[in-house]
Symmetry: C2
Subunit: 252 residues, 2 copies
């Protein structure tokens, strides 16, 4: 009897850096991965050795990703256990491969339940070789400005992590805002309108023939504020305070 | 007669860094902006002076963004001429403001024809103050992992630039791939199938009762290759070469 090991659904892709050179880039890659819930880093033949001085500082707390990173001598070894491999490239390679935008690529990846995916990133200066690209199933390229297409390595990793998190349904925001608060009832709001309009009328604010138009415009503005009960109370209080101050002192 | 100045449609948002400290972050911000076609950088009261040593190197060629950057003493001055301001924050601020994901925010921004938009980013360690956030129309926050929510300043700028470029319809990929090549005609493909199946039959490859099933499975595989005319020619040539080699030498 064999034991079958199921991968968790929507397994995060492994990030594979091929011959990365700068400690800063590797560290910032680890941080970018941690930001979007990726944790599997594979380094192929890091230039000038591993570990590198300065890489832990650049990771800004994401050292768990560095500590778990696996080092490989060659790309075939680094991708051997994977089921699908994507290669990121900035330039056309003359290869007959599908080319995907980051979002489309990650939608496909997120749909691949139980499959191990890897995304390859090339050397800082020259990227991946054509041979390395030929080991991938498809290419991912970034929708950068043609005036300035050179994307930093860790920035590319960040974009893939961001799009994976969105595609795999994990991209809830850490908090939401005012629209979850209950709007004021119409009774409270209309009562505020009435108080405001009576006060402005008493203060001689409206030119006689324009009262209706101005009052309606102000109601439109106030509607756009999407007031909560608390907001209505605050404005009523402000209105009362202004009206009290404006009253002339009682004469003896 | 007055001269009316129209802004170009889909004006890129200005990026506003409030009291940024590290040259590296400002330089990488400039680079991230250039990557996605943003060019308007505003710095409010940069910590420890401006310009900063090392900022041009960190910009990796995007020095035009640095050179055009405008320096302001306060946030109100930096946002005075803008029509809409977004504030990026990582944490809940107890403010009754709309909270948007980067994509939703940039879709709104891209729809605002002829309006000047600014996106504020706070200090590296403490972000924006609550007073500064209160000067914004809405909040943008990033869908980061709660286990590691601290996003580098330039990485946040990159994500906003990326989403703006997508939302404003500028996110075409620098190149596309194989699917633009014409698939082989069915005649060429079926002819290849026939050659392959005859060759395998002659080579005794098929178990007698399984020929049909195996042949159909192979056709399925070959269909998934989405062969072009050139691909078909290549495979036909490979097939012929293998068949020639396999033939026993003619006997005398």
């Amino acid at each position: 009897m064999s034991i079958r090991t199921e991968l968790p659904s929507g397994t995060p892709p492994a990030i594979i850096l091929v011959e990365p050179q700068l400690a800063e880039n590797i560290g910032m890659t680890a941080r970018a991965m941690a930001n979007f819930g990726l944790s599997e880093l594979r380094l192929v033949n890091p230039k000038n050795g591993w570990p590198k001085k300065g890489v832990r500082e650049a990771a800004s707390g994401a050292t768990h990703v560095l500590d778990a990173a696996r080092i490989y001598a060659t790309v075939p070894e680094a991708i051997a256990d994977l089921h699908v491999v994507l290669a990121t490239t900035a330039r056309e390679r003359g290869q007959m491969k599908r080319v995907l935008a980051p979002e489309a690529a990650m939608v496909e990846v997120a749909a691949r339940e139980g499959q191990r995916i890897g995304i390859m990133f090339g050397r800082e200066r020259v990227g991946l070789t054509n041979d390395e690209v030929s080991l991938a199933d498809a290419i991912v390229t970034f929708p950068v400005s043609p005036d300035f297409p050179s994307l930093n390595l860790a920035q590319g990793v960040l974009l893939m992590g961001y799009e994976w998190r969105r595609a795999s349904g994990r991209a809830e925001l850490p908090f939401s805002g005012a629209l979850l608060s209950l709007p004021a009832t119409r009774e409270a709001l209309l009562s505020l309108f009435a108080s405001l309009e009576e006060g402005l009328q008493a203060a001689g604010f409206y030119p006689p023939e324009k009262r209706e138009i101005i009052a309606r415009n102000m109601r439109d503005m106030l509607h756009r504020m999407a007031m909560t009960e608390q907001d209505v109370r605050t404005l009523r209080g402000a209105l009362r305070a202004l009206s009290r101050r404006a009253k002339p002192p009682a004469s003896d």
